[in-house]
């Protein structure tokens, strides 16, 4: 049985992260209820395993690691299949139809879409891609922290993130109302040797 001091220590370390933890859960859950379940389950597991939190591990990274397991457990029980994570090259025709020197056509594509539309595209990414995007671009964690949270090598985090952003960019371009209508006229082939 833990002491009251231990509960206070738990609250001190964990409470400040509730808000962001829920944000990460909410951004990948199919519903608000599911996000709440995941958040609650994460905090309960964190309290259960509080003894295992080492001093040198950041509390937030530890919580995200637990959340990642909670989500994985839930999907496994649900029998959810992993989406294939397609690999796009930098020479992809759609991507290159929207040059990205800012401010430019790609910048405009992003400005044309609401936060909700961008989030919908993030949500539709394959799980392995969405995870790295959430942890890097929303939570601004280092590759080292992300690697620890997801049990990956830092190099894998980097390659997934490179591919994830490329896929997300392509989907946002295709979702852009004016993109499909103008893509043929705007498309210019870029010679990689150029």
């Amino acid at each position: 049985m833990r002491s009251t001091g231990s509960r206070q220590q738990f609250d001190t370390l964990v409470r400040p992260w509730r808000y962001r933890l829920y944000g990460v859960a909410q951004r990948q859950a199919p519903s608000q209820e599911m996000a709440e379940d995941w958040t609650q389950e994460t905090l309960l597991r964190a309290w259960r395993d509080f003894d295992q939190l080492d001093d040198h591990v950041a509390a937030y990274a530890w919580l995200l690691r637990i959340l990642n397991r909670v989500v994985a457990d839930d999907y496994r029980r649900d029998g959810r299949r992993q989406q294939l994570a397609p690999v796009l090259t930098t020479g992809d025709a759609v991507l290159n139809g929207y040059p990205c020197s800012a401010p430019g056509p790609f910048d405009q594509v992003l400005k044309n879409q609401s936060d909700a539309q961008v989030m919908a595209a993030v949500h539709a990414l394959p799980d392995s891609f969405r995870q790295v995007i959430l942890l890097r671009d929303f939570e601004e964690l280092s590759y080292q922290d992300i690697a620890q949270i997801l049990d990956l090598a830092p190099g894998t985090v980097m390659s997934r993130l490179s591919r994830a952003r490329r896929l997300l960019a392509k989907r946002l371009i295709k979702a852009n109302p004016s993109a499909l209508a103008t893509s043929h006229t705007k498309y210019t082939s870029v010679n990689p040797h150029e």
Binding site: M1, R2, R7, R18, Y19, R20, Y22, G23, R27, M34, E36, D37, T39, Q40, E41, L43, L44, R45, W47, R48, D49, F50, D51, D74, R77, D78, T89, T90, G91, L95, N96, C100, S101, A102, F106, D107, L110, D115, V118, I133, R136, D137, F138, E140, S142, Y143, P154, M158, S159, L161, S162, R163, R165, R166, A169, V190, N191, P192, H193, E194
Partner: protein, 271 residues
């Protein structure tokens, strides 16, 4: 000369493919000096990769501008309650500790409660304590509403059974033959109010919890089980939990393992 050109083209192509996986690291400033130099040398002659780096930066900046979804005060409060009710520590309570708790419980009973409540409530609570299952956090934490009712069952078994005048005249959501309501009280399950009914069923203490539909159907395991079999059942060591959809609510029944009363289809519409 032609062979040399082919080899160079092949090497360039390999490097081009490999470096594409490093571009996020370059855009984010996460590459070490050596790899940064390699990428920069490649970028000097590769427009598509230059564009990709810029696209990664622009996209990352756009994503960082999206505000974090808010945590409602209601949900924040529910988290507080769930954590307050969570078992302290990750270790299963030992038998010695349970007997100590039992002694403390017996000594803390007020004479008026013992006399006023009659023999059954006390005997049933006593039986529940002696049979108190060793519920591990692994089991009980999986579905919040299940962990909540198991915790409540434990709490009631370890403390005084709430006694209310006229409880025996109250009809539980799911009535069984030869059962009698000993007490009812309000508690919280899945973060929302729930009505609990402690029932004597033969020699066992069974507690029914009427909960909201929203909480009942929140978990995918529960939804699947109800769709498949009409109910949801789980066990935590020596306790059984039965979940039933009612007309406008959900019902969770907690009973010692092997003592869950049979539920006929006709009774589930009783609510």
């Amino acid at each position: 000369m032609s062979d040399l050109k082919n080899t160079n083209t092949h090497e360039w192509s390999d490097l081009h493919a490999e470096i594409q996986d490093w571009l996020a690291g370059y855009a984010d400033g996460e590459l070490d000096e050596h790899h940064t130099a390699l990428v920069e040398a490649h970028l000097a002659g590769c427009k598509t990769c230059q564009h990709d780096v810029e696209r990664q930066r622009i996209l990352s900046e756009r994503l960082q501008m999206i505000p974090t979804p808010g945590l409602s005060a209601d949900f924040d409060g529910r988290l507080d309650i769930a954590l307050a009710n969570a078992p302290a520590g990750g270790k299963r309570p030992s038998g010695r500790r349970r007997m100590t708790n039992l002694k403390r419980w017996l000594s803390s009973l007020r004479p008026s409660v013992v006399i006023g409540s009659g023999g059954w409530a006390v005997a049933l609570v006593l039986a529940a304590v002696l049979l108190m299952p060793s519920v591990t956090p692994d089991n009980i934490n999986r579905i919040p509403m299940v962990s909540d009712v198991l915790n409540d069952y434990q709490r009631v078994a370890l403390e005084e059974l709430p006694i209310q005048a006229g409880s025996s005249e109250v009809s539980p959501p799911l009535p069984w033959a030869n059962s009698r309501v000993l007490a009812t009280w309000m508690t919280r399950v899945g973060g929302e109010p729930a009505q609990a009914y402690a029932i004597r069923q033969d020699n066992s203490l069974v507690i029914q919890y009427r909960i909201s539909e929203r909480v009942f159907f929140r978990n995918p395991d529960v939804r699947q089980a109800v769709a498949r079999a009409g109910d949801f059942r789980t066990r935590a060591d020596q306790l059984e939990v039965l979940g039933l959809p009612m007309e406008d609510s959900g019902l969770l029944v907690v009973a010692p393992a092997g003592n869950m009363p049979a539920v006929s289809e006709s009774t589930t519409g009783a609510s």
